[in-house]
Subunit: 347 residues, 2 copies
DNA sequence: CTGAAAGCGCTTACAG
DNA sequence: CTGAAAGCGCTTACAG
């Protein structure tokens, strides 16, 4: 059974292929009657033009690539499913589809070729990258080839490159977290940093430090650790840090993100430290599971839906050659107070 | 800057487009020296043939559609991120990409047209559906149009339709669950069913009933409820059921899936019932979060990675016109014993 | 072993 | 307002 094409539709409707095409593409110079006649045949046969033909004439794919870096983090983090959904929804909103790839990194030859191929074969109008580390030559190459690229949490000072868009966490989350703890009376505050090859982790680290300095609080090595970005690494870092300073414990721990905070919970449990009675814990992200931990996790929360929508919309605006598109967007977060931080009575 | 095409490559390499194409497609009748000469130019210019041109000559898209039904369930369930990953990984394994869509249902006109369009426009070689309910006319239409369709948890007795593939949960999970509880000494067993428009929920219900009957246990209305498939609905069902039979509580509750079991946990907590001391709870699925609940959830677990790999591979085999492809596959689950079911001393 | 030619399904100036 | 023609980038019989 041969597939029906625009020629067949034209014949059935008694017009030329040109007219069929004009109707499909909504040209204004088609009289209402002709349009109706052609549409009738199109509907009857469930005819849709093949994109392969359309693409060859310069139409867009109306497809975004979504390149997800870091398989391990994805597998372990349930926030991720909502990320996927946010991207797909935001794109669908604008009539775009999403082609998803999961890759461990963007440095292995094999992965580089894979991504490059998807761009060069003309499968997508633009590509979104999530989980990039701070230096990605492939992305610069693609930008140089005039490919449109959207980056989550990957800011470039250079804003003169209109085909490189980004969305970022605000840069004050760390400071705001410290402010909150300070106001509760905490003076001995530990910080567990994330993966410092990621932009947001660097910014948050710097912001924590600004907060500590602002309040003239001590920056002590024994109260600092690198906790990665997942529960397991957060657990290991917290366990080691706390074990080493049991004689002089901090009264509060800032975890670079909620996954790490869950690891801190586990470490505290094993060390017999009650949260928040013995030690307060505060995270960052706004992870869904934070509502259900015991105690529920106080955290500096971000609206990921908003973040992805901002990125997707500006990328699509760029594809559609709109004007005055902001290249970067820093999304503000806000404190979500639950039950993992307690007030300290000051003497 | 114009894009380089096969003509340019041909000129640069001093051959015809035909030969360039032969090299790219790995034809055997190209002498090694010519091949090398052409490949050199191709590599140098990072040339990749546009798929639009290739498709028009009958090549496949090497892309699978993934149609995800039921936005609400996705948003709430963190298992979902691993589902996405399993599909994308299994497809990538075979050199296929995945185009993902999220839809509330397959019944609204708008959604039907959306899915139909993606198939008809030639964007994908086959489509996978997850979260379908038991009767989906659109799927039958697509099957009738010779589209290749892969269904998760949606079995058809009629196995004579080679372009309709499915993967399913084994049909003994309910019975095995009852067997387990019976062996622990439980005689008063409640069942919270899922969404009976889904095949697996029906099968599991029937299987629970078989188990109860086999052991001559009472099928009591007061110990039966419909709990949907997410935590919230499971909570509501359990709360209502338990509140209504506080004078004669079951000693164990079977939850249709783990999400529902988490709802049961919440209901029990509110009613002051300790798990497993006062009441045992067992789930089904093997949800990652079940490890972290208090107490950790005993459940009848399935390997979703295996399930999706089975479906993806058989769908791709069908696309590639291999022979003797099983249309359905029932994947066996197994009991994962954690701490939510206790032994009952029999008098 | 290899090139010239036809053709895939569409859209879009062009001409009328 | 509308049709005939050209062209997009590829692959594949066909002929030599």
């Amino acid at each position: 059974m041969k597939r029906i094409n625009s020629n067949d539709i034209a014949q059935l409707a008694g017009v030329s292929r040109s007219t069929v095409s004009r109707v499909i593409n909504g040209y204004s110079n088609v009289p209402e009657e002709t349009r109706r006649k052609v549409m009738k045949v199109i509907k009857e046969h469930h005819y849709y033009p093949l994109i392969s033909g359309q693409l060859l004439t310069g139409k867009k794919t109306k497809t975004l690539g979504l390149f997800w870096l870091g398989r391990a983090a994805i597998a372990r983090d349930s926030l991720t499913s909502s990320y996927f959904m946010h991207v797909i929804d935001a794109a669908a909103q604008r009539g775009y589809l999403v082609l998803s790839c999961i890759l461990d990194n963007l440095t292995e030859k094999h992965n580089i070729n894979y991504v490059r191929k998807i761009f060069m074969e003309g499968r997508i109008d633009a590509g979104l990258f999530v989980g990039t580390s701070n230096n990605e030559p492939l992305i610069e190459e693609l930008v140089g080839l005039d490919k449109i690229v959207g980056l989550f949490d990957f800011y470039h000072e250079n804003e003169d490159v209109p085909n490189r868009l980004s969305v970022n966490f605000d840069r004050d989350s760390g400071e705001a977290t410290i402010d909150y703890l300070y106001a509760l009376g905490h003076r001995k505050i530990a910080v567990i940093d994330g993966d410092l090859s990621r932009l947001s982790c660097i910014h948050r680290h710097e912001s924590y430090m600004r907060g500590l300095i602002k309040h003239s609080l001590p920056l002590q090595n024994k109260w600092m650790a690198y906790g990665g970005i997942v529960k397991e690494s957060g657990y290991a870092a917290a366990k080691q840090m706390l074990s080493a300073c049991m004689d002089d414990l901090p009264t509060a721990i800032c975890a670079n993100n909620d996954g790490v905070a869950f690891g801190v919970y586990q470490a505290c449990e094993e060390l017999g430290l009650r949260i928040p009675e013995d030690i307060s814990v505060i995270g960052a992200d706004g992870h869904e599971n934070g509502k259900y931990t015991n105690p529920p996790l106080t955290t500096y929360s971000f609206d990921f839906k908003e973040m992805f929508a901002s990125l997707v919309n500006r990328v699509i605006d760029t594809v559609e050659q709109k004007d005055n598109i902001p290249q970067s967007d820093f999304i503000p977060g806000h404190l979500v107070e639950r039950a993992s931080c307690r007030k300290i009575e000051l003497l």
